[in-house]
Symmetry: C2
Subunit: 250 residues, 2 copies
């Protein structure tokens, strides 16, 4: 069994044996200056499509190809089909949320504007950078997509009706999350977490009436939005997602 290099990079390029891959300037700087790699050192590459590959450093000069793909480390496999829709919160917690959601296997991050959402501007490029870094570090073979912010009405209108939407309701009107996950038992799901001020009553009422919505409850302590999202994603992975399976012998 060949050891997987500790350094993993997410790249755009197609990956196959003998392909040359040019890292971005940022990646080149990271490899050469931060990690002090040299010619013939190895890294792992993934692109979300072709699995994970071992690649060798040819050169970390600014010109010319830098990495050559050698052999396959892991095949691309299906990953959890889990979305997270969230009202933008302040910079530190939202960066943090993107990182943690990535570690917790979220496939798609959707910022949603609600009535009580204070934070009206969101740098989705920065969220993507956070997601890429977390994906590289946690060993995922994909990076979650980050949607452009959209109003709650649009989220609801465009929501795929076969995807169960679990709405985190801090007013106590929902089912205990474990019970809700057992009953729904769906591997195609999304969570919606409101802003720090909570959903407006009219928003909650509208959500509750939707056939694809299950309103869930996370107990009596008032959780911050990021805590609630991380907690709910963890429960889903433990009860429905891929934490059920033992590790593969890779």
């Amino acid at each position: 069994m060949r050891e997987t290099p500790k350094i993993r990079l997410f790249v755009d390029a197609d990956l196959a044996a003998d392909t040359h891959v040019a890292p971005t300037d940022g990646q080149r700087h990271y490899l050469a200056q931060v990690m002090r790699l040299r010619t013939d050192d190895h890294v792992a590459l993934f692109n979300g499509r072709d699995g994970e590959w071992r690649a060798r450093v040819l050169s970390l000069d600014k010109r010319g190809p830098a990495l050559v793909v050698e052999d396959s480390l892991r095949q691309q496999v299906a990953e959890p089909d889990l979305w997270l829709a969230f009202a933008p919160i302040k910079r530190a917690p939202v960066d943090f949320l993107a990182q943690k959601a990535t570690e917790l296997g979220v496939a798609r991050l959707v910022p949603v504007m609600t009535q009580h959402t204070d934070v009206r501007r969101l740098n989705t490029r920065r969220l993507e950078a956070n997601a890429v870094e977390a994906a590289e570090q946690c060993g995922r073979l994909t990076v979650p997509t980050v949607a452009e912010p959209l109003p709650l009405d649009d989220l609801i209108n465009d929501w795929p009706p076969t995807r169960r939407l679990f709405v985190l309701d801090e007013t106590g009107g929902g089912a205990p999350i474990a019970e809700a996950l057992f009953l729904a038992d769906t591997k195609t799901a999304g969570f919606l977490v409101g802003p720090e001020g909570g959903f407006a009553r009219s928003e909650l009422d509208a959500l509750r009436d939707l056939p694809f919505v299950t309103v869930v409850d996370l107990g009596k302590r008032i959780l911050r939005a990021d805590t609630a999202a991380i907690a709910a994603l963890s429960c889903w992975q433990a009860l429905v997602g891929d934490w059920h399976h033992a590790h593969d012998a890779t």
Copy 2:
């Protein structure tokens, strides 16, 4: 039903009707300068023993009693008996972990030194301050205690044998967490999360042999120590702890 004041303060003083309570200098500054309270405004007080009380501002001068306790808002009730032992991590994530663990109902935080623990100094006073602030904001009636850091051997030797210890093992040797929690089904529990470098093999072997230990697994993605702790605590609350119950009609 009387409305609970939005501002909650954790105090040392005994709480009963007509008691006078002197806030700390920090609390006085917070009430007067940050929240701009005035005479006859109300706050909620709790001390971890006497439930929650409504109190009225008499004065926010530096001299003399400042608050008078008026009426009871909530009785003290039993809270989850959940501990979290963790190898200290860097300042931002460890502060964050103390906040989130408090929101997630942990009763006791225990910093543990393991072989691969890089962070050897930990300001437990700062962790306590983080826990107090989180407890005030999340509506708890208690604040978790923060133990002084201790070596893993001491943690194990002094661990109460009737308290189930769930060890988070990122090497894949544990049972899926939902299964482990179902089988153990204990309301007296603790989690142990290792440092970013993981436990040493000898440490894991020693832990595995203990009759009160269950080794658990959180899937194939490599979680940061703080993510793993928050995820595990969330699963416990959802499956064993107080997220099972609907909200009381308070």
